[in-house]
Symmetry: C2
Subunit: 190 residues, 2 copies
């Protein structure tokens, strides 16, 4: 998505050779009009796969998932939780994920009420780096016997290998902007 | 908002006399079409206050904030963070908030890049109970010298006193559904 690549070049900041900071429109402040444009693009790519539900993970995936839902005719969004609130008393599917940017490990949780056999799941997230969160969400779908019909990150850092791991599982992976490498404070797209 | 009250009665579950679980459409699964209806209602209520920015807190506030932004002509959304990722290296406004449902204390953080004097801020959140998160967000706006032009929660539990504390500060508080009391597993609206 050309507009996203341009926005990353204009508004993003590189921290070292692996971290891209896009707090200006995606991870802290949200450019909602642009989110909706990303949602339209996701619908264009994944409409043919006929998703019935979107799965993401809190927090930064929520905005993209919501825009994609709208563009796909308001299919439900489910966001995996990283902590268990006192209200989460029912059975959950769980999978561990290590955050690359936060350096922390989380147990992702999805209530068994919201994912089941027969669901055709489009997984979306803000970033795809080493694929930790992505693989955890796929594992949760497998536990629920739901079918993963596609995976997209707004920004994929291909050199960190996550997309290759997801494709090995036979999943259609198509991200909106694919970074080939980052070095000397610059981003190079595929 | 009548439709929200009906949805709470239909899909919500009471846990004790103070906790309302609405994971079905707001806190775990998102009914995005309904989010957009809530966003339209927020725009109707707060348009006259001419907000230039929406402030919320991750995670469940994000979806409502995004829908409200769209309905208000795509004004920027900023979500306060509860943890500091490794990318958050700049100066922040901070305030402590204790979560009623999670029983945990968090330091809410907003980068100084995204809130400043001259901003007219509409604060939105999923719940307003004792007002801990709300008052923390107001404090963050005060630190930034930004003006709080309104406050709305999707669901206000009036008996827990948060709305009164915010009104004492001279803030226009208008929530979408106002619960008077909860007892014996039932919700009673104002």
């Amino acid at each position: 998505m050309k507009a996203l690549e341009e926005k990353i070049l204009r508004e993003g900041t590189c921290i070292g050779d692996n971290i891209l900071k896009v707090d200006n429109f995606l991870n802290h402040q949200l450019d909602v009009k642009f989110m909706d444009e990303m949602g339209e693009e996701l619908a264009r790519i994944f409409k043919e796969n006929n998703p019935s539900k979107i799965l993401t993970v809190e927090s930064s995936g929520i905005a993209i998932a919501q825009s994609a839902s709208r563009a796909l005719g308001y299919i439900p969004v489910v966001f995996a939780k990283k902590t268990a609130p006192s209200t989460m008393i029912e059975d959950c599917y769980t999978a561990e994920a290590i955050s690359f940017t936060k350096g922390t490990s989380s147990i992702l949780r999805v209530s068994k009420n919201f994912l089941s056999e027969g669901d055709r799941v489009l997984i979306v997230d803000d970033f795809l780096a080493r694929g930790e969160a992505g693989l955890a969400l796929v594992s949760i779908c497998e536990q629920a016997k739901a079918k993963v019909v596609g995976f997209s990150a707004a920004i994929e850092k291909k050199h960190q290998g996550g997309s290759a791991k997801l494709r090995e599982k036979g999943i259609k992976v198509q991200s909106l902007a694919v970074i080939d490498t980052m070095h000397d404070g610059k981003v190079y797209f595929e």
